[in-house]
């Protein structure tokens, strides 16, 4: 009986906290979310894998909000994709774009995608995943020498240099191995 009351109080407290903490992401919003699922939606699409993945890590659509993908995956914009020509024919572009828009951060219930959606809901939509506030904050404790100064990493853009499960949409700390820094722990 005691146990039951205790858990009911705890549940009530959690639900209450959810409402109050809605505006800011916190451990309470995370705990209170009934859609709490781990990580980024690990969706797969053959065209996405081929077209994006042949030049760089095939970043999951859940890593940026809809507005960002709309800007990036545009026929004109792809002619100068961060300095490279990444033109696609109309059919392929449509497939890749639809896939991104359907699975963008703000359309996903996955934990990390939700956080990215929250971090980008105000202001200009970022073009770079590394400019998302949440992503920046998650990495700012890691010294420069381990990323930029690390010949096997070079930049935050190479997710899978350290995130060993990045391809599966898993970016959890426990899966991080920084090349040349085997003893690193958060």
């Amino acid at each position: 009986m005691h146990m039951k009351i205790k858990s009911m109080i705890l549940l009530a407290a959690l639900l209450g906290a959810t409402g109050a903490a809605q505006a800011e992401e916190s451990v309470w919003t995370w705990l209170g979310s009934i859609w709490r699922q781990n990580e980024v939606n690990p969706v797969q699409n053959a065209a996405w894998q081929e077209e994006c993945g042949s030049c760089h890590f095939a970043y999951q659509p859940g890593l940026l909000p809809t507005q960002s993908w709309e800007k990036l995956l545009d026929a004109k914009a792809l002619e100068d994709h961060f300095g490279e020509n990444a033109e696609l024919d109309a059919d392929t572009l449509k497939e890749v774009r639809d896939f991104a828009l359907e699975n963008a951060a703000d359309k996903s219930w996955y934990k990390r995608a939700r956080k990215i959606a929250k971090a980008t809901e105000n202001g200009e939509a970022p073009l770079r995943i590394t400019e998302v506030r949440y992503i920046k904050r998650k990495h700012h404790e890691i010294p420069e020498k381990m990323i930029k100064g690390n010949k096997d990493v070079k930049s935050l853009s190479y997710c899978d240099a350290c995130h060993t499960q990045a391809k599966k949409g898993v970016f959890d700390e426990d899966t991080v191995r920084i090349p040349n820094y085997p003893d690193w722990e958060d």
């Binding site: 030049c55 760089h56 990444a86 033109e87 190479y158």
Partner: protein, 132 residues
């Protein structure tokens, strides 16, 4: 008579240039011809491969990313992404997909030379690369 036929056949085989081709490369070479390309010039492609052009302040050529040893993988100059070898002998997937060949010709000519390649240039490159 039979011997003669066999001899002619053998001579014919010997005389045929050793060349690799795929259904995709055949159809593309025919397409380039219909777009005005003349006889493909592999020697021109060979020298064009390393011809450097200034594009947005950077000296670029095909070899910048693909290298000059076609049996070895290349590396993208910016992203560092490994580019599979260009030689069909070590990379059987090369030159088997018309759309893919055209897509990369379009992008890479613009990236390396700042413009699209002509049908003649593409015929030259494709012929040259098929023989590597």
């Amino acid at each position: 008579m039979k011997n003669m036929t066999a001899m002619f056949l053998a001579l014919g085989l010997l005389a045929a240039p050793v060349a690799f081709a795929t259904p995709a490369s055949d159809s593309l070479l025919a397409q380039y011809k219909s777009e005005g390309a003349g006889k493909a010039d592999a020697a021109k492609a060979k020298s064009d491969w390393t011809r450097e052009v200034m594009v947005e302040g950077e000296k670029m050529s095909c070899a910048t990313c693909h290298g000059t040893d076609f049996s070895k993988p290349g590396k993208h100059h910016k992203t560092g992404k490994v580019i599979e070898p260009m030689s069909m002998k070590v990379n059987a997937e090369r030159y088997t997909d018309v759309k893919k060949i055209e897509k990369w010709f379009k992008r890479n000519c613009k990236d390396a030379w700042g413009r699209e390649c002509t049908a003649q240039e593409k015929a030259d490159f494709l012929t040259f690369l098929l023989a590597q």
